[in-house]
């Protein structure tokens, strides 16, 4: 039986009829067409599908779309505002924190949430903070640098830290 849900994604409210078994990541990708959120495994290990649900990072392959009913979601497409990159996005570009780009959206959403909790993380805190997201290309060194860059930017320009949720 399809169920009606209402989810606010990147500031816009969407209503849809969904099957109860529809994974949230498929709702985001297939129903809403927001393909920036990726799928890299089926065991909640890789984090490529990470989005923010009510501000907290979740692996969207491991929750159902119906569980997001009435809640606010932010995906990678919601990071930039009015065409201006979020400091996290800027950091990944400036510090060469991405190569193939496939883990990047999930990694950036995790980094975004980390900086919301802790505006000045140590290297160890960053490494633990992103340890639920796998990257096969970068060896993480430059991802850590990207997050440090973003942290510094967010601290010096708090206004840039927003994003939509």
């Amino acid at each position: 039986m399809a169920q009606r849900i209402s989810v606010t994604v990147n500031g816009t409210t969407h209503e849809a009829e969904v099957e109860p078994r529809l994974l949230f990541v498929h709702f985001i990708r297939e129903v809403l067409g927001l393909t920036g959120t990726h799928i890299g495994c089926d065991t909640t290990n890789c984090g490529a599908c990470t989005v923010l649900l009510d501000g907290r990072p979740v692996k969207s392959c491991t929750i159902f779309a119906v569980q997001a009913d009435g809640r606010a979601v932010m995906t990678v497409e919601g990071l930039a505002r009015d065409g201006a990159l979020h400091p996290v996005q800027e950091g990944f570009h400036e510090k060469h924190g991405l190569q193939c780009g496939f883990c990047t959206p999930g990694m950036m959403m995790t980094a975004y949430a980390l900086l919301q909790r802790n505006a000045n993380p140590t290297e160890e805190e960053i490494r633990w903070g992103i340890s639920g997201n796998l990257c096969r290309c970068t060896g993480y060194v430059n991802i850590v640098e990207a997050v440090k860059y973003a942290a510094e930017k967010v601290r010096s320009q708090p206004a840039a830290a927003g994003g939509r949720s």
């Binding site: 297939e30 990726h38 495994c41 065991t43 193939c100 496939f102 096969r136 060896g139 993480y140």
Partner: protein
């Protein structure tokens, strides 16, 4: 204003713009109207007869359109497909499965979830058969013959050997010191974060197939499709292969997997677009593996540490089909680089390929055709000799390195190394890490019973396949290509026969053209991966993009410069001989004011060109490299070992790489970071093994452990620069160096920490359990 940076600059990546906004187009992002979904039924058994396949329950589900079996494909001659190694491989089985997770049938449905529902209820009657997972047992008399389809009733596939056996045996007989070590390099999986998949779209009106596909070699795929399915009316000019953004490849996206073939067949039969996307468990359990080499390595030396001979014997587990994506003349890949960085007078290596009840594959893990196996072997056994002789492993290497003045160097196994300075790289690594002080610290710690190890790996790679006299795939020579078109306003479209999977070609290729023509990188659009538009090339794997396609880019740019000179002479009313090139412009010798920029020349090539010259400014180059390139480096790893848990902690890791002249130092460093992490992974964590019944152990991300940011150390990198003498830009390639060099450095560090206790070798992955066990065997407790 846009600037032409050229070679050697850390130009920020052009491709980032879409990826950081979530606007990349990966395979599963492609959605076509009326698209159907394919999902695959897989075997729970490693070896079984298929007695019957019952599709009825699946077909009863609304939305399930078909259940496709091997018998269905057989009607079209598609139940089997050829491999690159003169073997054949099942697309879907007619009556036998040979490994767990092998494709058994495919379900076609209107929705992704419905296809999965169908897969869940297809019933297959199996009759289990005896399973062989150990290649040594597979060679024993009386072992079950796995490939009943072959005339030769044996599990032995081929024997390959290289070098002078008699001279090597003699050197061993006469040696003052010999060492011998068995080492197993386990089966691992590349696990790019994006799995494999495709969208096949057959246009019945045009008779044209468009295939979006996760492939590192789109042109080769197009030719293979034409050759395999030509009898069904698929002609090469009516096949368009598009490789969209690729979420990591590392070799895992070179082979043709059954899912692709069935999707194409399903689209041709239904006339609808068909999508197939594998999930992670399918990806790990059935796609191409790497390594699985059982090596016996031997070294002969004088008492003073001078190496005299190398002998290596290997049993190579190829799984159920010989489907390694090697160049055709190299069944054991480039394993013959196993003399490494050392000057051997005598060497001999032999490899035997064997069938087992495991998935096929064999080379896909960020490595140029078995170079990692070769490098790991020589660096491990060299370290054992050094320790046995009581020599410092660094001194031992310095003593045996090929001397810088010996290049170009002809190795005992037949390769001509282009250039090298191995002493320089090791010296730099030792200085950077503070080698002498670390050895002192180690000695002090050892007195206190603490376990600390220092491991060195001084590897030499062989990449950039390759010269046409030696290298081909199915007869296709392994050249690569570039086409550069300059538009009237001086802006450029450049297309290449390779395909980036994260290496940053859109940036680095633009830098090559900027370097040669002085056109800003921002004015150059690089395109790859569409066989309808890009010139023919063999693709990106085995670190061949820079050595082959990058060289083609430089050569095409030079052709353009030659033509531009004629136009400049015309515009400046000067003789060509009187013109000089400074990046971005020609000027009259002695009169720098009398100049024409490349942009002005480009405009003139369409508006005001000299009589007798063709209009336009474009060029194509198909580059057949004269030799391979031989990147090298020295890595030093420091580990501390917990006696209570056996855990290995990497304290420091210094990597000094020499990849010749560098196009983009930022990207090179990123490649090294990633490569090191994919060297760390098999050294300490990753392994796919099988139980006696052929059940995969480590078939998902919950038990196949990719390093996270927590396990991965903060890599320290540095470089030396020894240009390749034959590459037009002096470049060599770097993408796989670190994956090749790192495992031995880590393993050597662990054994170095334990050697005084009597430990000579621990097979990778060096898990806490293996170390703990070794410590207990030597009577060490916390």
């Amino acid at each position: 204003m846009a600037v032409a940076h050229g070679m050697g600059h850390a130009v920020k990546r052009k491709e980032d713009a879409r990826f950081i906004r979530g606007k990349g187009t990966y395979i599963d992002d492609i959605k076509l109207p009326g698209m159907l979904y394919l999902d695959i039924v897989r075997s729970p058994y490693a070896h079984a007869k298929i007695k019957a396949i019952h599709p009825e329950k699946a077909l009863a589900i609304p939305g399930v359109l078909a259940v496709i079996t091997g018998k269905d494909l057989d009607k079209y001659g598609l139940a089997w497909m050829p491999t690159l190694m003169s073997d054949k491989q099942m697309v879907l089985p007619i009556d036998t499965v040979l490994y767990q997770a092998q494709e058994v049938a495919a379900v076609l449905a209107t929705e992704r979830y419905v296809a999965a529902d169908g897969v869940a209820v297809v019933e297959v009657d199996y009759e289990p058969l005896p399973v062989v997972v150990d290649p040594k047992k597979a060679l024993e008399p009386g072992a079950p013959i796995l490939r009943q389809d072959r005339e030769q009733k044996t599990n032995h596939i081929w024997h390959w050997e290289v070098g002078d056996r008699a001279a090597t045996d003699k050197a061993f007989r006469e040696a003052e010191v010999t060492v011998k070590q068995d080492m197993y390099i386990p089966r691992i999986h590349v696990c790019s974060i994006e799995t494999c998949g495709c969208v096949a779209k057959w246009d019945p009106v045009e008779g044209k197939l468009t295939l979006w596909m996760t492939t590192q070699a789109p042109h080769a795929i197009r030719t293979v499709v034409a050759l395999v399915a030509g009898h069904l009316g698929l002609a090469e000019h009516k096949i368009r292969v598009i490789s969209p953004d690729i979420g990591g490849g590392f070799g895992g996206k070179v082979p043709v997997y059954p899912g692709y073939v069935v999707a194409v067949a399903a689209s041709v039969l239904t006339g609808a677009p068909v999508k197939w996307i594998e999930d992670r468990m399918e990806n790990i359990q059935a796609d191409s593996f790497a390594r699985d080499y059982h090596i016996t390595a031997e070294l002969a030396a004088k008492k003073d540490g001078t190496l005299t001979a190398l002998r290596a014997k290997t049993i190579a587990d190829h799984g159920a089909f010989d489907a390694a994506a090697n160049p055709s003349k190299f069944p054991a890949g480039l394993f013959s680089i196993c003399t490494g960085s050392y000057d051997f007078k005598n060497a001999f290596a032999e490899v035997d390929g064997v069938y087992t009840n495991k998935p096929p594959g064999g080379i896909a893990y960020r490595c140029s055709f078995r170079v990692t196996e070769a490098s790991y072997m020589i660096e491990r056994i060299a370290d054992i000799v050094a320790h046995q002789l009581g020599m410092d492993p660094a001194d031992f290497r310095m003593k045996n390195f090929i001397k810088p003045e010996a290049f170009p160097y002809k190795s005992a196994l037949g390769w001509t190394y282009d250039s090298g300075n191995y002493q320089g790289a090791l010296k730099k690594a030792m200085d950077k890490i503070g080698y002498a002080a670390l050895r002192k610290e180690q000695a002090e710690k050892r007195k206190r019973g603490e376990l600390m190890g220092i491991g060195i790996s001084s590897f030499t790679e062989i990449v950039g396949a390759g010269p046409s006299h030696t290298f081909d795939i199915l007869g296709l020579k392994m050249f690569d290509s570039a086409e550069i078109r300059i538009h009237p306003t001086g802006k450029v479209v450049a297309r290449f026969g390779t395909k980036s999977q994260g290496q940053g070609h859109e940036t680095t290729y633009a830098q090559i053209i900027a370097h040669e023509l002085g056109i800003p990188e921002d004015d150059i659009a690089v395109e790859e991966g569409d066989t309808d538009t890009a010139p023919y090339g063999l693709g990106t794997y085995a670190s061949r993009s820079t050595p082959v396609a990058g060289a083609a880019g430089a050569m095409a740019a030079r052709k353009i410069r030659d033509k531009a000179k004629k136009i400049a002479a015309h515009l400046l009313e000067a003789r060509e001989d009187d013109l000089e090139w400074e990046r971005g412009k020609f000027f009259v010798k002695g009169s720098p004011d009398k100049a024409k920029t490349i942009q002005e020349i480009a405009f003139a090539s369409y508006t005001n060109y000299p009589q007798g010259l063709e209009p336009g400014l474009e060029a194509v180059s198909y580059y057949d490299p004269p030799n391979l390139t031989f990147p090298f480096g020295s890595y030093i790893c420091v580990v501390d070992i917990d006696k209570g848990t056996g855990e290995v902690k990497i304290r420091r890791f210094v990597a000094v790489d020499d990849c010749g002249n560098i196009i983009n130092p930022m990207i090179v460093e990123g490649q090294i970071h990633g490569g090191l992490t994919m060297g760390l992974a098999p050294a300490l964590y990753e392994e796919i093994n099988y139980d006696e019944d052929g059940n995969i152990q480590g078939g998902s991300f919950t038990d196949y452990l990719l390093p996270t940011a927590v396990e991965t150390p903060r890599w320290e990198t540095d470089k030396t620069t020894t240009p390749s003498p034959h590459h037009p830009l002096g470049a060599k390639a770097v993408g796989e160096s670190a994956t090749v060099g790192a495992p031995a450095a880590i393993a050597n560090a662990v054994v170095d920490a334990l050697w005084h206790l009597g430990v000579r070798h621990i097979d990778i992955p060096i898990t806490p359990w293996k170390v703990w066990k070794a410590l207990r065997e030597k009577g060490i407790t916390e």
